[in-house]
């Protein structure tokens, strides 16, 4: 009896979810676009910061380099809620950056996700560059390239590996719920994104809507993975 009810909830939920997606329900579309917008922005900014820094760590020899790389790798697993808490306290009107008025705004969410994926992109950039043949690096330097030129050349050579790094960063950003819930506040029509909308609608027992957003989120993740494997096969 109870199982029968469960089954029909799931089945009906799926049918309604497909309807919501196919008919282009405005709220579903809006939330999806906002999610993509925020996470793409965060990935772009994080990439601009973390790629050069990652490259710098790879090229420069300095004491504590291995320790720094270890720290970065530890930060890959940084719980999203801790980043959320940190950014919340920073951006709160009574916090040090309160005057920017960014708490509970998409801008604040972009900052939080950027901070979240910077260590990931930095660390993986180091690994990606390490996979480039060392010989090539010595060749570049022996040809008289400045350090900037050698950085640019090696990054160019490893562009597909770097692209996978960026896609992984994007995947982590769009699928996380911790920072965007705390920093964004899940405000309808303003800061509500795929993951926070799923959490809310599940708590409200509105399963078809949750399932619909879940399907979209999975599709985005699948798309990223397909692109990733195509890139890696090259």
């Amino acid at each position: 009896m109870v199982d029968g009810i469960m089954d029909s909830t799931i089945v009906q939920g799926f049918i309604q979810a497909i309807e919501l997606i196919v008919t282009g329900n405005p709220e579903v579309v809006e939330i999806t676009i906002r999610s993509l917008y925020i996470s793409l922005s965060a990935t772009l900014i994080a990439g601009l910061i973390a790629l050069p820094l990652g490259a710098l760590i790879y090229f420069k020899e300095f004491r504590g380099k291995q320790a720094l790389v270890n720290i970065l790798q530890t930060l890959f697993a940084m719980p999203t809620v801790i980043i959320g808490l940190f950014v919340f306290l920073m951006l709160s009107r009574s916090g040090p950056f309160g005057f920017l008025d960014l708490l509970f705004t998409p801008g604040g969410m972009v900052i939080a996700q950027t901070i979240l994926i910077i260590p990931l992109i930095m660390g993986l950039t180091v690994s990606a560059l390490s996979s480039i043949d060392r010989e090539m690096r010595y060749t570049i330097i022996s040809l008289g390239a400045s350090s900037l030129q050698s950085i640019v050349t090696v990054i160019k050579e490893s562009r597909f590996a770097i692209m996978s790094v960026i896609l992984l960063g994007f995947g982590r950003a769009i699928s996380e719920v911790g920072t965007v819930m705390i920093v964004g506040g899940n405000i309808r029509g303003f800061t509500r994104v795929l993951t926070t909308a799923i959490a809310l609608n599940t708590s409200m027992g509105n399963f078809p809507f949750s399932i619909a957003l879940g399907i979209i989120l999975l599709t985005v993740a699948l798309g990223v993975n397909i692109v990733l494997s195509v890139v890696q096969r090259r």
Binding site: L53, K60, R93, D101, L102, T105, S203
Partner: protein, 328 residues
């Protein structure tokens, strides 16, 4: 030395991003549902940044959001005034904390003792109650603890005794999140003669703290076939998915009073106080109260909230202001 330089550079980069975002944030307003936002709005006191013109930030309890009432009120208000309401649903404790930190302009809450502290602390002003319903204790149909029809304190005493004796089928789910409902639960434990933090919390497997919204807590209690204290509104709007039935629903101590407060502009000069006043006046107007009183009748067969009117609201057990106009 060099790792320090690296860290310094990373720090500078992060600061640069924050600065860049702040510059960009004024035009970054995706999902702005009211393109004609400034068309017919009443003049607002533009006190500094204040989240911009025509934006009002509200922190609210999860019960108002979970029942769906707030979504309807939001649409009504935005359509009539053009003001963009930005509503974040948190437990009452967290909502008040956001008000205290000047992160919102208005709080909608339901925990009279916490509200009083908030006002006394100088964080809130223009306190108006606007509606009420009752808390109820719901539980499994067969009621293994036998609390049906009891007074709330008696029911809690029975649950404690049976629960700590590991009686089969007796468990209680608490919100455990400093929400208005959790605050009420603690009041009842204290009234029943227990020290909440020492005797109730960590007193055994029977006492489950969910740490989640009212809707999720009801779903959890339903899975566990446990007893739970809930507001009437959320229970009614989730009833179709629940096997739990109301067991205790009487007594003034179960009153659930909803209030609105503006964040004190003296404590938070950046708060959008003028708009907060407009919103409070609208929320406590006859028309809005009538709407609140009719909300849910069609879907659930009975109203989820009862609007409060003077002079009833000034008398026990309400003891609050609901009629006086709010002016900036």
């Amino acid at each position: 030395m060099k790792p320090k330089i690296m860290l310094l550079m990373a720090g500078i980069a992060v600061l640069a991003v924050i600065a860049a975002m702040s510059a960009g944030c004024t035009e970054v307003t995706p999902g702005n549902e009211t393109p004609n936002a400034t068309a017919n709005q009443t003049p607002t006191g533009t006190t500094g940044a204040a989240g911009g013109d025509g934006v009002l930030r509200i922190a609210t309890t999860t019960s108002l959001e979970n029942t769906g009432l707030l979504a309807e009120l939001e649409v009504m208000y935005e359509n009539t005034t053009g003001v963009d309401l930005q509503i974040t649903a948190q437990g009452t404790g967290q909502a008040l904390e956001l008000g205290q930190r000047c992160d919102v302009d208005v709080v909608l809450v339901h925990a009279p003792p916490l509200e009083e502290e908030f006002i006394d602390g100088g964080y809130g002003t223009d306190h108006r109650c606007f509606a009420y319903n009752y808390f109820i204790i719901v539980g499994p149909e067969d009621d293994p603890a036998g609390i049906r029809g009891a007074q709330p304190e008696e029911a809690f005493q029975t649950l404690y005794q049976l629960g700590t004796n590991n009686t089969e089928g007796v468990a209680f789910v608490s919100r455990g999140d400093n929400s208005g409902t959790h605050s009420k639960e603690q009041e009842i434990w204290e009234a029943a003669g227990y020290n909440y933090t020492e005797e109730i919390q960590n007193s055994g497997a029977w006492y489950i703290e969910s740490g989640r919204s009212m809707g999720e807590t009801l779903a959890l209690a339903n899975e566990e076939q446990a007893y739970v204290l809930t507001d009437e509104g959320t229970y009614l709007s989730f009833r179709q998915d629940l096997e739990l039935v109301p067991l205790v629903e009487q007594g003034d101590e179960l009153l659930n009073r909803y209030s609105v407060m503006a964040v004190n502009p003296e404590t938070c000069p950046n708060a959008n106080y003028a708009e907060a006043v407009n919103f409070t006046s609208w929320l406590t107007s006859e028309e809005t109260k009538q709407f609140i009183g009719e909300f849910g009748v069609e879907e659930f067969g009975q109203p989820l909230f009862t609007p409060l009117y003077a002079p009833q609201c000034t008398e026990p057990p309400f003891n609050c202001t609901c009629a006086e106009n709010v002016t900036a």
